[in-house]
Structures are given as structure tokens and as C-alpha cells.
Symmetry: C3
Amino acid sequence: MLRQVVQHLEIGTRGRGFYEFTDEVAGVLAKSGLKTGVATVHLQHTSASLLIQENADPEVRRDLERLFSRLAPDGDPIFKHTAEGDDDMPAHVRTALTAVNLSIPFEGGELALGTWQGLYLWEHRRQAHRRRVTVHLVGE
Amino acid sequence: MLRQVVQHLEIGTRGRGFYEFTDEVAGVLAKSGLKTGVATVHLQHTSASLLIQENADPEVRRDLERLFSRLAPDGDPIFKHTAEGDDDMPAHVRTALTAVNLSIPFEGGELALGTWQGLYLWEHRRQAHRRRVTVHLVGE
Amino acid sequence: MLRQVVQHLEIGTRGRGFYEFTDEVAGVLAKSGLKTGVATVHLQHTSASLLIQENADPEVRRDLERLFSRLAPDGDPIFKHTAEGDDDMPAHVRTALTAVNLSIPFEGGELALGTWQGLYLWEHRRQAHRRRVTVHLVGE
């Protein structure tokens, strides 16, 4: 019989960059006792995002930072919403270009991620933040 | 016991821009009587998209328009699919860069959105359109 | 009564480009016997992505290739992660800009896709690959 679980995570960031939290979601799954189903992960913010990306060479994440900084540079004169800092509007753009929610099936009590896939919170603001994530599981 | 609900929304747009429909989805949720679960919202089009973004300063949305117009300008000579207008291919690009479906957990009968998160239909065509959205809820 | 099904697909690609697999997911759905519910499709890779896009004029997909190649060209000097080829880091960027999972409601035994929506695996590497996709269905 299908059942569901909802849990909340809080992830502290130290400014712009990638923070892997695959283990935290796997922990929620393990604790739930569910073996097969689907996990929905939702980030409750608009200046950080969720991304599944390569968890091997950290240079991949640094290259992603460089590329996204070129698409929407801090202080870009195109932006008029600047009252919250010159990295705020680029943060909204990066969030729009990525995602704030993900849906990942699980089987055998494990997220169906590929070998090189890690689950990241991508902080887009330069300052440290505490970010809230809701994890919903449905399965059996 | 888990159960599900499917509802259809039609959202009229007046051309390019953001149309918040958080309340419409919250209304489907309220009517369903479900308290805890996950909502899947799917847009049945390829030249408009769904976006969760800041619902406070409207300048944020105007800046998003400006930035995306720079990434893929109307009439960009790179495009060959031009028969449906010079804003059609940019609309497909903006849709590819964002999303047509979102998954949002809910608790206590309320979508687990952050304080500043609104749910938007982002119309990418310059003309008015009627856009169809399917809302699926599973929960209890 | 709600129940769930998980199936695995393997999609062979012949290098960069779009590979429609709407029919494969529809086949999983038909075989499941489920009529109403939600499908979650997850790609287990970080250098290819999933995209719902126009299934009519193939020029749309070629224009998407051209535009994304401009955003993150092969061999772009901004990239330092180059050991796996000059198309590897652009592939990660394109994956970050699009998605590796999608959630699509279904009704009457059919995916709630719009008339012009097709479900594509977008291969971002120039070489052929075999790509793994997990399909999760929950419904009744």
C-alpha cells in the first residue's frame, strides 16, 4: 500500500557555489522505510536553485559558475532591480535558468541517480544563507 | 489513504509577460480537500513556460524579460524557423531554458512555496493566447 | 486504489541531437494499465537532458542546437574541465540549462501532452551513447 512522507531540510551556504545534499535526501529516504517510489525535492527560494550535476571533477562546477556568470554577470547594466545588491538579479536569472524542484524515482531504497549524478543546492548569492528544502516521498 | 485529483486550468494571456496563477492552483488544492501531498503542474505548450519566481518587486520580472531577450532576441538571424513570426523561435528557446512542468509538495492544505515564491505562467509570444494547464494532486 | 510502476528504458543516440521517445513512455503507460496519474521520467546522466518541445517542424530543434551552441560553444576558452573532450563541458552546461527529470500527468491512459509537445532526449555529446531513463508511474 502506497504511503507518503514529508520532511524538511535546512542547508547552510557560505555564499555562491554548489552544496551537495544527496546524502541528506538519501537519509530521509532511509528513515522513511520506503523502498520504491518517487521523491520530490522543492527549494523555497528564488535566488538559489537545485541542480543534478556531475559529482566527480569539481572543475565542472567551477566552469558552470564561470559560464553562468557570463550569461548574467553581477552588476550587469541591463538590470534595474538592484536594491538588494548587484548579485541579486543575476541570482534570480540563474534560478530561472535552472530549477527549484526536482522529481527523482527511487528503487531498492535508493534514489535512481546515475553513477556521476549528485544532487546540489546551487547558492547564487555571494553572502551566506540558510536555505529551506521540502522533501516529499510517495511509495511503498 | 492516498487519493488523486486532476483538474484543468485555462489561462488567458495578453502577450509576452508573467501571469501569476498561484491562487488558481491553491484553489484546486482547497477544493480537493487534500492536506498533504504533491502537486504536479503541466503546461501543454512549447512557446510559454512555467516559472516559480519572486512575487514582490515586479521589476524582477521585467529584468528577466530583458535578460532572456538578450540571450535569444526576436528576429535573431541565427534562427531559420521564422514562418510563425520572429518571436516564435525565441519563445521555444525561452521554454527550453525554463520548464513546462513543476512539482510542488503541499502540507496543511497549502503549497510549500517560500514567502517570496509565486507560480507564474510566462507567455513568450507577443500576441494574446489561451494556455492550458493540467494540475495533478496526489495526497491525503 | 493507487498503485505504482517503475520501468527502465535505454535510448541509443548517434551523437548530438534530439531523440523523441514519447512513444516509449506511452508504451510503458499502456502496459501498466493505469489510466489516471502522474509519470516521472528521470535521465541518469549529466551530459544529456530531457526536453518537451515542438514535434512538428524539425527546424525548431536545429535552431535550438544553434542557439545553445552560441551560449556554450564547444571549445569555449572559459572552460577548464576539458580532459573528456571540448564538447563535454558544453554538454554539462546544456544539461544545467534544461532538465534531467520531467513530471507529466496522464488521463484516459494518455500523457497530458499538448498537440505539439513531444518528449525528447537531447544528446549533447558528439559521440554516440547509450542513455538510461527511469520511468515511474503512480495512479489508478
